[in-house]
Symmetry: C2
Subunit: 269 residues, 2 copies
Amino acid sequence: MLIIGERINTSRKVKGEPVIENAVRARDAQFFIDLAAKQCEAGATYIDVNAGTLLEGEPDAMEWLVTTIQGALDVPLAIDSPSPAAIERALKVHKGQAMINSITAEKDRYNNVLPLAKEYETKLIALAMGDDGIPPDACGRMTVGRELVSNLTAAGIKIDNIYADPLVFPIANGAEFGLAVMDTIRTFKAEFPGIHASAGVSNVSHGLPQRKFLNQAFTVMCMTAGLDAAIIDPMDKQLMALVYATEALLGHDDFCMTYLEASRAGKFE
Amino acid sequence: MLIIGERINTSRKVKGEPVIENAVRARDAQFFIDLAAKQCEAGATYIDVNAGTLLEGEPDAMEWLVTTIQGALDVPLAIDSPSPAAIERALKVHKGQAMINSITAEKDRYNNVLPLAKEYETKLIALAMGDDGIPPDACGRMTVGRELVSNLTAAGIKIDNIYADPLVFPIANGAEFGLAVMDTIRTFKAEFPGIHASAGVSNVSHGLPQRKFLNQAFTVMCMTAGLDAAIIDPMDKQLMALVYATEALLGHDDFCMTYLEASRAGKFE
């Protein structure tokens, strides 16, 4: 399971304050080194970096974030932006295999992000949406996603580098949205052997109280359906404990060694 | 989802003390009324009652437990015993539809429990094991379970009253045991439309530390595979929160009304 730590995102607020954006504007290096290090210690294998709220300042901020974090820590980053300019600036300075979060079937975005993914041989999150927006049902999303993944592999992207993302909608808006995501994950993995499935699971709980329980349950459910990457908050110890437990219960953790080590290391609570 | 509260079991110890057994021997009525009431408040829909450690005193104890609990609370009970004599004494005084926990394909047990299930029209947990013990793999258990369920329905037990139990083994003893349970649940429900699936999920974590995380994850996973009854501790608020969340995410809770009500009622923490 690939855990993409979601905490470094300038749209995130703490008690109403845009603390991440403020720290980027102040170029507070230690703040980001600490926030990345804590996520790594908690079990993140990639650190997501999103500076979208800086608008025209985003490319500079992205380059600075990559060099700052990787100057202190040996961890790969997920470059989270729809902007090819910001992605390129980040990839130019990134060490190791980066992940691009994300490409879509939208014509411009596809044409601008694909060459970057090829040149830098990145991992690539592929969102099942096109120029007509996000298809409302699982079938429509699979139609868009199928064409997107087929085009990516035809263009030379290795299937092992593709993380298909079925797009998670809030369950409050439709009782069938959870099952649709699981169905789409199963279909992607059945139709494209070797592909990965990723999701921003926490969207599922939008608009509901005590969201963490919905996020935790949905992470376990999607892993059971084949999810092998998730953009989550690794500092939610309860969630991480359930991820380790689910890996063991799915038979991915021989003799429960990883579960036992994480438990002994105090990662669960 | 049918939640069978597991707390009234004389084999359960608290800090090494057999407090449940002691309370049965002392005929401490208020103790059991309180313990049943707390489980109901927490979300249990059936209360399991097991007095197996009393040996020859079990039938008397069972009758007393049923009359005591149902004298104070309007809740159905799961009569948890391999002893036909104890089950019969309990059923004679039980009000409403009881559940028998459990019948198996073992010849004597089958022949002795079946007439009770028919006479009292109970719900019935059917364990996938026979006179040769518990088949080690999913295929073997399904073979035993298939014959057991077929015999039960041929004998006149309604499919809606049958709760097939795939038998949960500790994941520490075999990495494939979690998947085997999920496969067996899916197969039972596909082969016998209208049947229910039940499991004692907490066996999965036997021998491992911080068992609650494994029990929580496995409950969510088995529900995703079709589990619709579970013998659990409803006073684990985290577990119950995940059960409510999973019901919503599986599309069983229109507009998340049940989740919202449980959240407002403070059932989650």
